[in-house]
């Protein structure tokens, strides 16, 4: 699903150049649930931004579902994001004046899906995250965990190839974190490919594979025995 070869990225800081990613090689197969771990400054967010086409790499190859991702202009990047990727952010990033259902339907709007189908799909995915009854509520009327579940429903709505979650539990307490991870595991069980960036070991243990980044290189890449989250819920 994802093939990355010899990926480099550096940022210019005045006269100095900060080499953030120093040759990353890694592949993700369909249906994997991968945790990307590392301390701050390890390059994990940069890697996720490049995977999410929010940032460009300096050199190296990136293929997503067989499509080479390079030399994207803004418009093309937006189309690819919409088609291939679903995002889940640490601070949820719901649009605060839109109801839960409208938030979930937004990526479908950008896919030019008809309004009726949009509505149906939005409710379907809200149902999947257990928030069907909250469809008409504004984000301000939801708890943190509920907001993140709406965000996950929104990421799923576009039926992306890969779900990218950037610290999805970073703003949540541990009980709510496990609820969210339970949801992520269930979505993964249904066959979706998911990448989770986290620095919490217990969250990483709930994935099927952990990729450890340090100073811009992968220092460890191992498959693990998944810890199911539902036992904590």
């Amino acid at each position: 699903m994802i093939e990355i070869k010899n990926l480099h990225k550096s940022y210019k800081m005045g006269s100095n150049s900060l080499h953030v990613l120093k040759g990353i090689n890694f592949n993700v197969e369909e249906g994997e649930l991968v945790a990307i771990m590392g301390s701050s400054g390890s390059g994990k967010s940069t890697l996720l931004n490049i995977l999410g086409m929010l940032d460009n790499s300096d050199s190296g190859e990136y293929n997503l579902d067989g499509v080479p991702i390079k030399d994207l202009n803004e418009t093309k990047a937006a189309r690819y994001r919409n088609k291939f990727l679903g995002f889940v952010f640490q601070s949820f990033n719901l649009i605060n004046y839109k109801s839960a259902a409208e938030n979930v339907a937004l990526p479908l709007y950008y896919q030019k899906v008809g309004r009726k189908e949009r509505q149906e799909k939005a409710l379907k995915y809200l149902e999947q995250v257990g928030l069907r009854d909250w469809a008409s509520h504004l984000p301000s009327e939801l708890s943190g965990g509920q907001k993140q579940r709406v965000a996950i429903a929104r990421a799923l709505a576009a039926e992306p190839k890969v779900l990218l979650a950037d610290e999805p539990t970073g703003a949540l307490d541990s009980t709510t974190s496990y609820e969210v991870m339970d949801l992520i595991q269930k979505i993964n069980d249904a066959g979706n490919t998911i990448l989770v960036v986290t620095h919490e070991p217990d969250i990483a243990d709930m994935c099927k594979r952990i990729v450890h980044l340090k100073d811009g290189v992968i220092v460890e890449d191992k498959k693990i025995e998944q810890v199911r989250a539902d036992q904590y819920v």
């Binding site: 929010l54 937006a78 994001r81 995002f87 640490q90 649009i95 605060n96 409208e102 709007y109």
Partner: protein, 417 residues
């Protein structure tokens, strides 16, 4: 066509509708600007209409010519010679100046602007008495409240009839008395009243208290021979009055041996001159109010742009999220631009509705007053032009925040604080 895309519009109206306070505050500037523009234009129109009403009934392209004393010696004549026009002059001029539409010779009893005492059964009135042709009615229209005006038949058979003013009736008759058919006495001659006129609330060269009798009757009754007092002339449409004025004066100067450069011998009054002055005044007024209004509108639209610019900054995160979810820069740009246009349009329409209401109110207030201010309202063309200009400005100025919005990179917008 994206313009018919229901989702696009509902997206825009949702965004605007769910931020009501911000939307209303943004619109205020344009609402007030539109009100100012429309009130200015409407008032200018009201003034223009008021002046039009003032002139209604007087042919604006008319000219009055009378004789005076010479001020230059010429061909052996000394200066200070009194010139007196004859009735034949009217015929000569009519024949030689084809630009003339109507020429009505007129004579006044006594000297000009002096009144003559008119009697009826022991009552009297100091009135102006004119000998007239029916054509005069085409130049200074009289509003008849009873009976008829002089006609051709009166002239041909020199009938002893007269048309008198409302004011004259008040002096000569008791209230409620029928004046038509009654006789009045002027210089010992009796005339039968056939019509009563009412002066318009406008420019009135005849006065309120006047008696009109047929020209031919005047000649016989008061023994004026072929003298004539002055000529009231209406020129044909599209012809400049001063040109005709010059032609007439040239003919008359030649006929009466007046020095060609004598400025005093022949007096004339060009009605079109005042009319043109006033109409150019109202045109300038309209132009100035449009100018002032448009700049006010520009300020209003800039205010919208300004607030949208702040809004874009405030919505950085939202726009970033939209971009991450697949909104192309084009879609974002279109959304912000359309928000600006929709805001401006709505604000413009609200301002227009308010100002139309205000203008109707002002018009009703001005109804009873003497001021030259009638029906202050903007024309469809004026409204359309200002509206289109406003939309055009909003597009132009909406581009500013729209371009700011597309510069937002999703990665910057989503960066955690």
């Amino acid at each position: 066509m994206w313009i018919f895309d229901r989702d696009l519009w509902s997206e825009i109206f949702n965004t605007l509708g769910k931020n009501m306070l911000r939307t209303i505050l943004t619109m205020l500037g344009v609402i007030f600007a539109m009100i100012i523009l429309m009130l200015l234009l409407g008032s200018a129109n009201g003034m223009s209409n008021g002046f039009d009403k003032l002139f209604a009934g007087t042919a604006s392209n008319s000219l009055f010519v009378w004789s005076q004393r010479t001020s230059e010696p010429y061909k052996g004549f000394e200066r200070g010679r009194r010139i007196s026009f004859k009735l034949e002059d009217a015929e000569i001029i009519k024949k030689q100046v084809p630009e003339i539409e109507v020429l009505a010779p007129r004579i006044e009893l006594g000297s000009h602007r002096n009144v003559v005492t008119v009697y009826r059964k022991g009552r009297k009135s100091g009135s102006s008495v004119y000998g007239d042709y029916p054509e005069i009615d085409n130049i200074t229209k009289k509003k008849l409240i009873a009976g008829r005006f002089l006609n051709k038949n009166d002239i041909e058979s020199s009938k002893k009839v007269c048309v008198i003013g409302e004011e004259t009736v008040k002096f000569l008759f008791d209230k409620g008395d029928e004046a038509i058919g009654e006789d009045i006495r002027i210089n010992g001659v009796f005339f039968t009243v056939v019509g009563i006129y009412k002066p318009n609330n406008n420019i009135n060269i005849d006065g309120k208290n006047a008696v009109f009798i047929p020209f031919t009757t005047f000649q016989k009754a008061f023994n004026s021979g072929d003298r004539l007092g002055w000529m009231a002339i209406a020129v044909k449409e599209d012809i400049k009055v001063p040109v005709v004025e010059e032609k007439i004066k040239k003919i008359l100067k030649a006929k009466y041996d007046i020095h060609p450069n004598d400025p005093r011998a022949i007096g004339s009054f060009d009605m079109s001159e005042i009319f043109n002055n006033i109409s150019s005044f109202t045109t300038v007024l309209k132009g100035v109010s449009f100018f002032v209004g448009i700049f006010t509108l520009l300020a209003g639209v800039i205010a919208i742009s300004n607030i949208l610019l702040i809004t874009v900054k405030e919505r950085t995160k939202e726009i970033g999220v939209r971009r991450a979810l697949g909104a192309t820069p084009r879609i974002v740009k279109r959304q912000i631009l359309l928000e600006a246009i929709v805001l401006t349009t709505f604000a413009g329409l609200i301002g227009f509705a308010i100002s139309v209401g205000a203008l109707v109110g002002i018009g009703a207030l001005a109804e009873g007053s003497e001021a030259p201010f009638v029906n202050p309202m903007v024309s469809i063309v004026q409204f359309g032009a200002s509206f289109l200009l406003m939309i055009f400005l909003s597009v132009l100025i909406g581009l500013l925040p729209a371009n700011r919005a597309i510069k937002i990179k999703p990665i910057e917008a989503l960066r955690e604080e």
